[in-house]
């Protein structure tokens, strides 16, 4: 990745006229918005409107899907992530991701966390790695529950714990932005609450973008909300409304937004 100076821009990620295609099908059209730093931005909208597609475009995970193509710009520190000289691997080290279904590696809890730093060429002592693992687990509010069993498999944890392990794994590489695609949809209400509290804490150090189908969750945790909807004509998702969360939920500008957030839609 070509080097960019860390600017003090208010925004972590800005998209400009972004279109995303799967083969010939345009899944997302003409999305332009900016995601503020150290805030939680929620992407909401009915199924199939392109939320995951937009989210994956922020760290070039769409590259892994054969036939997927992104047009327009996604700016990160003023650098277009889709410039030909940008390395997707480097992008993902800056912009991490947490998935819908918890997906810990079938390795020990410790090795799950250590994986990211290790592939990033981490060269420290064992003691330093121990410290890094602890910090990541503390950061993901999981330390107390697993500190005595770091050598057990990550798969031995409960679903909610696994998801926090995945968050810990993501923050262990010290990204700037964390993308979360429905991180609580496979979890019970208590685990969901824990992850929500965790997100509010993480906001101090990271920029978080979350996709959610849970309106209350978006209202509870996010600072900004982007509402997407599928255009009935060409079935492409578009950004209908983007504003401060309280505005989107209490006084939306678009009638379709109001219908959706009040549950009369989708």
């Amino acid at each position: 990745m070509s080097t960019t100076t860390m600017n003090d821009s208010k925004y972590a990620i800005e998209t400009r006229a972004m279109n995303i295609y799967y083969g010939a099908f345009r899944a997302v059209k003409d999305v332009t918005f900016s995601i503020e730093r150290n805030k939680i931005t929620a992407l909401i909208g009915p199924s199939g409107c392109g939320k995951s597609t937009v989210l994956r475009s922020f760290n070039r995970m769409n590259d892994l899907i054969p036939g997927a193509r992104t047009e327009g710009e996604v700016l990160y520190h003023g650098q277009n992530l889709y410039d030909p000289d940008v390395d997707a691997v480097q992008v993902r080290r800056q912009i991490g991701m947490v998935f819908q279904k918890p997906n810990p590696f079938p390795k020990s809890i410790y090795d799950n966390i250590a994986y990211g730093p290790r592939i990033n060429g981490w060269k420290g002592t064992r003691a330093e790695m121990d410290e890094l693992v602890e910090r990541a687990l503390v950061g993901a509010a999981l330390w107390d529950e697993v500190k005595d069993k770091l050598n057990q498999s990550g798969l031995s944890l409960s679903g909610g714990q696994q998801q926090r392990l995945c968050i810990a794994r993501a923050i262990a590489v010290q990204p700037e932005v964390i993308l979360m695609d429905e991180p609580c949809s496979a979890l019970d209400p208590i685990s969901t609450l824990k992850i929500e509290e965790l997100m509010l804490e993480l906001r101090q150090r990271y920029t978080i973008v979350i996709v959610t189908h849970n309106m209350q969750q978006a209202a509870r945790v996010s600072d900004y909300t982007a509402f997407f909807l599928m255009d009935k004509e060409d079935r492409a998702g578009e950004l209908v409304e983007y504003d401060v969360t309280s505005k989107v939920f209490q006084n939306p500008a678009d009638k379709r937004t109001e219908e959706y957030v009040s549950g009369r839609f989708g």
């Binding site: 892994l64 691997v89 992008v91 993902r92 998935f99 079938p106 994986y115 990211g116 592939i119």
Partner: protein, 321 residues
């Protein structure tokens, strides 16, 4: 509104009428079903019966071999000379040749097969996969006698050219081992590819999401997650190498020879059985019976390998539960 309700009620009544008054739940004979069941049972039974028959004959003839005063069990397993003509029945030279050749084969097949598997499951495009997989399967379908001549007339001359005619014999274990390796590569490739493809895509995504390259993802996440399946495939390939006969009979030589030197000729257990049973042996002679004892040892080796691979596969299943 009232009209609508009435229409609905009428519809309901019409539906009710169409249901037959009595419902017949009695058993009815299904002759086709029971014939099929019987045929399938016979198929299963025949395969079990064949196996039992083979094992029975192996044991039977081996017992009478060991009952002969000229051989003892101890000599059989510790003797370093196999010379039936002078009454020497030490299996070590044959066992050793089998192990040397199988090891060479595994040294060739594991990297090659695993490399193919990783390429197919982690790198290849749909199109490349669609072309390569049938080619690999084709490789597995070539008759082994062709591999044998390939070893003797192609690989051996090359080896002799490289290392010198005085170093490498015309019949040698290296050539046979390498070609057996090529022969079992498709087994390792297909079984490993199955194991790698069974690793959930979510693990790859997790790895890529942390900034791993394709190679890091393959080597540090996918292969470890598939390791037991890969191991099991390796064991299946190993037992195939141990049992391989045609290549070693053609290329490894026809004299029992206790040596580690891969450039020398040495006859394997299978090669010896093939040669002896091809010759004119009088039924019931001690030579004749000796090959059953060798067969029994082979049987136990492959049985042990099979049990090992089953154990490993069972562990492998647990990982994703």
């Amino acid at each position: 509104m009232a009209d609508q309700a009435q229409a609905k009620a009428e519809q309901g009544a019409a539906l009710a009428v169409s249901i037959p008054q009595t419902i017949d739940l009695r058993k009815r004979p299904r002759i086709g079903e029971s014939i099929i069941q019987t045929v399938l049972f016979i198929c299963g039974f025949i395969s079990i019966f064949t196996t039992i028959g083979i094992v029975y004959v192996l044991f039977q003839e081996s017992l009478s071999f060991f009952a002969d005063p000229a051989v003892t069990l101890f000599e059989f397993f510790t003797g370093t000379v196999w010379q039936p003509r002078i009454g020497e029945f030490g299996i070590l030279p044959l066992l050793n040749a089998t192990l040397v050749i199988s090891s060479i084969a595994m040294l060739v097949a594991v990297p090659l097969g695993l490399g193919m598997a990783i390429y197919l499951s982690e790198y290849a495009s749909e199109r490349a996969r669609a072309i390569l997989k049938p080619v690999i399967e084709l490789l597995a379908g070539i008759p082994t006698v062709v591999y044998g001549y390939f070893a003797l007339t192609f690989v051996t001359p090359i080896l002799r050219g490289i290392f010198g005619n005085d170093v490498v014999s015309v019949y040698n274990m290296l050539s046979a081992g390498m070609v057996v390796g090529v022969l079992i590569t498709p087994i390792i490739a297909t079984l490993s590819e199955d194991a790698l493809s069974a690793v959930p895509g979510s693990l790859r995504q997790a790895s890529f999401g942390l900034g791993s390259t394709r190679w890091e993802t393959a080597i540090k996440v996918v292969v470890p997650a598939a390791l037991s399946g890969i191991f099991a495939g390796g064991i299946v390939a190993m037992s195939r190498a141990v049992g391989e006969t045609m290549v070693v009979a053609l290329a490894a030589g026809a004299s029992p020879n206790l040596t580690w030197n891969p450039f020398e000729p040495a006859e394997t257990m299978t090669g010896h059985i093939a040669r002896i049973s091809g010759g004119d042996l009088s039924y019931g002679s001690i030579d004749y019976r000796s090959i059953f004892a060798i067969g029994l040892v082979l049987f136990f080796i492959t049985l042990a390998l099979n049990i090992a691979s089953r154990r490993i596969v069972r562990r492998f299943r647990e990982v994703y539960d």
